[in-house]
Symmetry: C2
Subunit: 127 residues, 2 copies
DNA sequence: GATTGACCTGGAGCGCACTCCAGGAGTGAG
DNA sequence: CTCACTCCTGGAGTGCGCTCCAGGTCAATC
């Protein structure tokens, strides 16, 4: 019997078994995960690699619906690489935009932190 | 009559009037926003400045409940600056952690993008 | 052969952060 | 006076991404 059980796969991927079933039901995977004779899922390397990729897309904020579109493109086979690239590039641009935004807001928070550090330095924890 | 109406304040802050009412009801503000004689909110500079700050906290991913805790500390007045600083520093550390995580996942996505760019360069849009 | 434990399914429920709505009131223009 | 507009309130509804549950199957262990 080859492949990992759902709980082993979940542990390895840093997800829960529920999430893995949810991704499969929601068409985020490239194929239905193969089953053992008793009907239990057995995750193979190809499944794990794909889930690892979409986990990265999710971790960078790509919505489920876009992951699904990307999966559909890959499932459709060769010939739509231009579309796949466009989708990934659009995502990349959005991530960079968000990173810049967060960094600029963080700078203002840093300033506030500096302010509190300063007043605590000059008047440390008054009795 | 001094101060901005809720829709003017919303426009200036990049939020909606609904969100401003929601923040107030949810104890994210330092005080109940003052009202005109007819009961309409009139946002003063102090209100706008505070909302601007918490918008930055929100934009960097601080949950509403933590913003509420921070607001409560500020509302409580002088003497808890150590706690305020700790809260902001914890948030800062979390933001930096997330930035690093997103950047590392983005690097993998970039790699994938490079892959597609490469195959499209060597076999551009086959008829 | 009874129990235990991991897995299965369909579907309900949840936490978050808004967002929308109904019903009502004050204000200014024509 | 009527109309249009903006605001008010309390509360319901929404979208997202899971997360949990009931009821059931199957394989291995005692």
């Amino acid at each position: 019997m080859t492949g990992l059980t759902i709980s082993d796969a979940a542990a390895r991927l840093g997800l829960t078994a529920d999430t893995l079933r949810y991704y499969e039901k929601d068409d985020l995977l490239l194929r239905a995960v193969p089953r053992s004779s008793s009907g239990h899922r057995r995750y193979e390397q190809a499944d794990l690699s794909w889930i690892e990729l979409i986990t990265r897309l999710r971790a960078t904020g790509m919505p489920i619906r876009d992951v699904r579109r990307y999966a559909a493109l890959v499932r459709a086979g060769d010939g739509n690489e231009t579309e796949r690239l466009a989708l990934l590039q659009a995502h990349r641009a959005e991530v960079l935009r968000q990173l810049a935004e967060v960094q600029s807001h963080l700078a203002a928070v840093d300033y506030k932190i500096g302010f509190y550090e300063e007043i605590l330095r000059s008047a440390p924890v008054p009795a």
